[in-house]
Symmetry: C2
Subunit: 369 residues, 2 copies
């Protein structure tokens, strides 16, 4: 990317991933205020932005640290100075666990487990390295992916303690619930999740095990986790950029309003009688959660034009954008969109007449191991 | 990626993108033989592999050069020594056209146009730089994306000549036709495409314009373009790696058989009673053309587990892979899958007991401008 600080938005080569820094900072402040008012810890998920600079902005606004999903993500952010990381996911590979144990010497680290084999291997790696970290027992609260059944939390927490490890609490996240459109269905899903957390807490209490913290929640549901009184730490990530998919959710009462802050700048490079073609396809924006929305042009429908093209239809000529015209997209899903790019261009002063204030490295881009 | 030459496949950290070099070279040879026997030029599309080393392998097997889709892709491959490049796509941005014109000093270059504005701007950029390149007029042969209507090819070719540019022929590619499953429907689609090419050729003939070449075709349909006698150059890319989506096509009579050569190595990192969870999600493999297939395990169904997870179901216990077990995926679509990775690990000797022979850089990764 040949962008530079001070460049006018109009001159940014396309396609490019652009952050509206003004909108991002309002989102940052809104979530910080929410967490603070509720007395909750905020540990945003950095799998979304993969950027050490943004993680530091979140920490400067009161976040206790960040979550990551992968060992190599933790390594990449630690290398750029992030000092408090929670790998909110399981690691079972012994070579990878050796890296986790080494990293625990450098930063305050935590990790999730959901199997006794995972506990055994983690303990062996930490013993070999002579390092320590916090261990969260992940429970499945409805997603149906990782995590033990809630009633088994006590047995696994006991195993954690028996191996001389520090039981840091419960990892309790329901990813699919984030994208249930209606308030009622999200409320029902997180209501069931809260019941699952209560089951796990009761099992721990019966076993005489203190649970220091329940960590979880995402940008679609965090008001509900907060209302439950069970969760002590929120892991929301997408609130910072707000993709099209999250914006399509019916807003929960009491939720802060977040603005779109992440955009793909694109350009019309071909025109036909019936449509325009832009230079941004799904190598520019992820489509796993649906297609992007054309920003400020509700009359235009975006159709998938493949890896390198987007097709705009729906408007009658001459309303179809002309050759060379700039078109802004709001990506369907921010996390995998960011992962496609080496840099994000932080713009101050709006998408029309702003300038590039910061070229933000996607430090953990492609860190999938 | 901490892989190295000589590393055993079993020790490759996961998830990782792995090429079976033996299979890839059989695919390479099969396509080279086909083109040679038909007397056709082969210019494989490098948007698929984005690797200068692989482009050089194709050229060593008789390819005249490679196609790319983007200016920055051309720059990245040229920087690594690829000398003959066709940007088979339109560029309308003047700053980008200046880069195209500069690149034309360094390599043998061609580009597509589908508008008089594009021709004017290209001519101005080349004049300013004092460089030359080949200009293909793109016609829409059924895809409905870029390209002028076939009957308008002569007018645009005349404009090319009038601006002192070299008319190199027609760019004629039908992307959607590649993925029509049945032989009959693909035959019908490319039959209509051939008719569109004839219309354009007739218009050129009436205008007294010689058409040096028709370039196009993809891995799903190239036998049909070859049979038509109209196309002189094939642009197939995916044949080299063969993704799940192409393999799902009904094979055309006379088509070489291509093998899967691109795999994602993944590992089971969580197990429940009903399913196993692997460490590869859609940050490891693109899902725009559907989910990956589990290689060698037809009893297992892959379900999307999000950005960082895959969920395996369908097998009865104890057939569900165990914690730590290796699982190989065949990606749904190779092009955007490769684009997610910094390197591809070229393995010799098979996925079970082979070793890493080459760490192949994805030189044009993320080159979307």
């Amino acid at each position: 990317v040949n962008a530079f600080v001070g460049q006018c938005v109009a001159d940014i080569d396309t396609p490019a991933l652009v952050i509206d820094l003004d909108a991002m900072q309002r989102n940052l402040a809104a979530m910080a205020t929410f967490a603070s008012q509720r007395g909750l810890r905020l540990r945003p998920h950095a799998k979304m932005h993969k950027s050490a600079w943004i993680a530091q902005q979140q920490i400067a606004h009161g976040a206790v640290g960040v979550c990551v999903q992968k060992t190599s993500e933790a390594e990449a952010l630690a290398a750029q100075g992030v000092r408090d990381l929670f790998i909110s996911n399981e690691v079972i590979d012994e070579a990878k666990l050796a890296r986790v144990a080494a990293l625990a010497h450098q930063v305050t680290l935590a990790i999730a487990v959901d199997s006794t084999l995972g506990v055994e291997r983690l303990a062996a790696a930490l013993q070999a390295a002579g390092s320590r970290l916090g261990v969260f027992v992940e429970i499945d609260i409805g997603h149906g992916r990782c995590g033990v059944p809630p009633r088994d939390a006590a047995a696994l927490a006991r195993s954690v303690a028996r191996h001389g490890l520090h039981f840091a609490g419960l990892q309790a996240y329901h990813g699919r619930a984030q994208h249930l459109r209606g308030v009622a269905e999200r409320r029902a899903a997180i209501g069931a999740s809260a019941q699952a957390v209560r089951t796990a807490l009761a099992a721990l209490a019966v076993a005489g095990i203190d649970c220091p913290l329940v960590s979880g929640a995402g940008s679609g549901s965090f008001v509900l986790e907060a209302d439950s009184g069970l969760w002590g730490e929120l892991q929301c990530g997408s609130y910072l950029f707000m993709d099209r998919d999250y914006a399509d959710n019916e807003a929960l009462p009491g939720a802060p309003r977040f603005e779109h802050a992440l955009f793909v700048k694109s350009q019309v490079m071909s025109c036909a009688a019936s449509h325009a073609v832009i230079d941004a396809g799904h190598k520019s924006h992820a489509i796993d959660s649906g297609l992007p929305r054309v920003w400020g042009r509700d009359d235009l429908e975006f159709a998938n034009g493949g890896d390198e093209h987007g097709i705009l239809r729906g408007a009658a000529l001459p309303a179809i954008p002309a050759l060379g015209e700039t078109v802004w997209l709001v990506p369907g899903h921010c996390d995998p969109t960011v992962n496609l790019h080496a840099t994000m261009l932080g713009v101050r002063g709006g998408l029309e007449r702003g300038v590039v204030e910061r070229v933000i490295a996607v430090d953990a881009r492609g860190c999938i191991t």
